[in-house]
Symmetry: D2
Subunit: 222 residues, 4 copies
């Protein structure tokens, strides 16, 4: 079973559809019940389970893991939201929301996954952004939370050094998703990658061999 | 005037005392009213103003800047708290607290400083930690928030490129402060730097010349 | 046509064999004439051309590109050698050799590729090492040359920003190849990845879509 | 005694003059005999010794250390040269020269210093450039060698972990020195830092305390 978070839209939804085509058994989670069901609908006839959850609530995270129908062989964490603009133009409440949606949810989710599965052979894929690798004007708080998730992941990697649970870091740049519509930034998205093409490349790039695996992937637009 | 945050303990308190010895006019802020007054007491007879504030509350941040007796020529942001241990042993509430104390407070504070002073020649010193530069086992959420502050600062630097307000990044490692007592990590602190020696080195290293300035400083124990 | 450098051994040779199985037309280059022919032999019956060249000689690099039977759609730079041990135990001549084999050859090769192909849609894959991403005791000069290749590649990326030539960074860690036998480091290689499994994963991970591509890949052993 | 390399011009010469004013005993080395003597002249009446040496020649490096009049308490490595322009416009010979002048000389020098002084309390200051911290278009090979020196230094730091010899990384950006005149890049230097102001700031920032020291310093122009 593959567990995908943030599956109600964007890259998470596109990954769900791509994996469904290969007849994978999927568990999808996201904050938006209705949209999550639409995505599940589009994944038919694959074997799909949906579990609505707000990952910035630690009790919801525990409940989600309690309700999983099976131990996942792969978990893809795609949860996140965007908020942009120069720092002096940003609103405190929206900054707090951004941190909860991206960094706090990543910490709660990864913590619960490590508690339950650190002794299980499993790929835990953390989807971040190229904003986790570089500083960007107009994206200071977004870079803050994405650098934060990366610092979290790289540190937990050290904690899991001799464990069979593997952390995979994924850094996609410039995708054309509904993400931007609500992000406070006006962009020409015509040259951006679609979520579908990103999902297709990512699925193929995620690989394990006998002695090793693809541990980090950056995906960029031309 | 020099504004120091996180001045009620640790490096912030030590910086206050060091600058007070040079007869600088200081404004000190921190969460702990009583401890802040003790620090101010120890800074006598320098010209000191104390303003208690919880920087993870955006209204308190606005109020703090409203109450400043003058425009600071230097601001030293020393606010922060520690929380350690392997991720699976950490408590969700304490993780949220850590993010609020370190990352959210940095974003709120820096935002307000940029709103008010981005067109003013001023050094805005962000004190982080060597945990902002590297991953560390047993410090995953602490690294997360410190990497986050660094991503924030590096991005805001780009936004302030042609402005007279300068951001200075400071990365101290291994200090022996009361920080550790409440952090959930047992340490032998005998080889650690004291807050006083770190403050003394930092004060001397922070410099401006006609065409440039010390923009980043890392301080390590032997 | 796919051009692979460093193809006479290790990952380069393994990539040649893997691509040959898919009936790709290949041009293989390496310093060792005899070993290069053995690799070409093992790639039969694919369409293979071999061109012996020492890429640390700029004239040999020019000659190599002059002799290419066609414009490559993909170039995989796998050239390199290893040399290890604490710095005080290393020999000056071997350090110079290491820089020539790894960094100078990368600069000469990339320069010639950029001169000829910067206006051609083409993937230029630079295979480095996880030693390009982190510092390692006992590998100081090896890290030096690999960090150097990375700095070169990241800078040339900026120069090629609006060009159809794409640079792809590849960072494999811990492979069991003859590389180690001559490197001055004694290692237990039993848990290391084989060159073949690394090549298989890398070939599958290298992908282009309409608006973007996999730009960076790290491959690690468990 | 303080040993300064690259002392015949630029930051090295400026550091020599600044330390001479404080009556430090100095040993200056550089490639250019005549210019080195001019610098020594300008440092009078301080106690100065000059030793001409080309650090990209390992025998010259050994000879230099053999001739030192005393064990230095601080060594400042300022050796280097610049070469700029887009990669396709650079000449192979000049690229090789750049690597020898910057990276190979750093490796030979640091190796000899580690052999002799790793058990001596001593600050070994490696002056690099902001080009060691970021990629820059038009500076690909210069970034390559500076990233290389940084990878070298960070790795040797790990090798010296329990030793009294400390490595200090210094990253100055945008100085107005004769460096640029011969570098192939035309620049408006009016807003750049002078070597003198950089040297003055650096001297004051380099500090040791009982339990720690300033380990890394970045100096930027406004």
């Amino acid at each position: 079973m593959i567990l995908i978070t943030g599956a109600s839209s964007g890259l998470g939804a596109a990954l769900a559809k791509t994996y469904a085509q290969d007849k994978h058994t999927l568990t999808l989670t996201g904050r938006h019940d209705e949209r999550l069901h639409e995505v599940a609908q589009a994944c038919q006839p694959a074997n799909i389970c949906t579990l609505t959850a707000d990952l910035s609530d630690p009790k919801a995270v525990t409940r989600l893991f309690d309700q999983l129908p099976a131990t996942p062989e792969t978990i893809i964490f795609c949860t996140g939201s965007g908020y942009f603009g120069n720092l002096e133009k940003q609103e405190p409440d929206a900054i707090a929301q951004l941190m909860h949606n991206n960094l706090l949810s990543a910490a709660y989710f990864l913590r619960e996954a490590v508690i339950r599965y650190r002794n299980t052979p499993l790929n835990m894929v953390m989807v971040m952004s190229t904003a986790a690798q570089t500083a960007k004007a107009g994206e200071s708080t977004y870079c803050a939370v994405k650098w934060g998730v990366r610092g979290l992941m790289e540190s937990v990697r050290l904690e899991l050094k001799d464990k069979p649970m593997n952390l995979v870091g994924v850094y996609p740049g410039g995708m054309a998703t509904e993400f931007w519509a609500t992000s406070g930034k006006t962009m020409d998205l015509s040259g951006f990658m679609t979520a579908d093409e990103t999902a297709t490349m990512l699925k193929q790039a995620l690989q394990n061999a006998k002695h090793g695996y693809i541990s980090d992937i950056t995906i960029n637009r031309y």
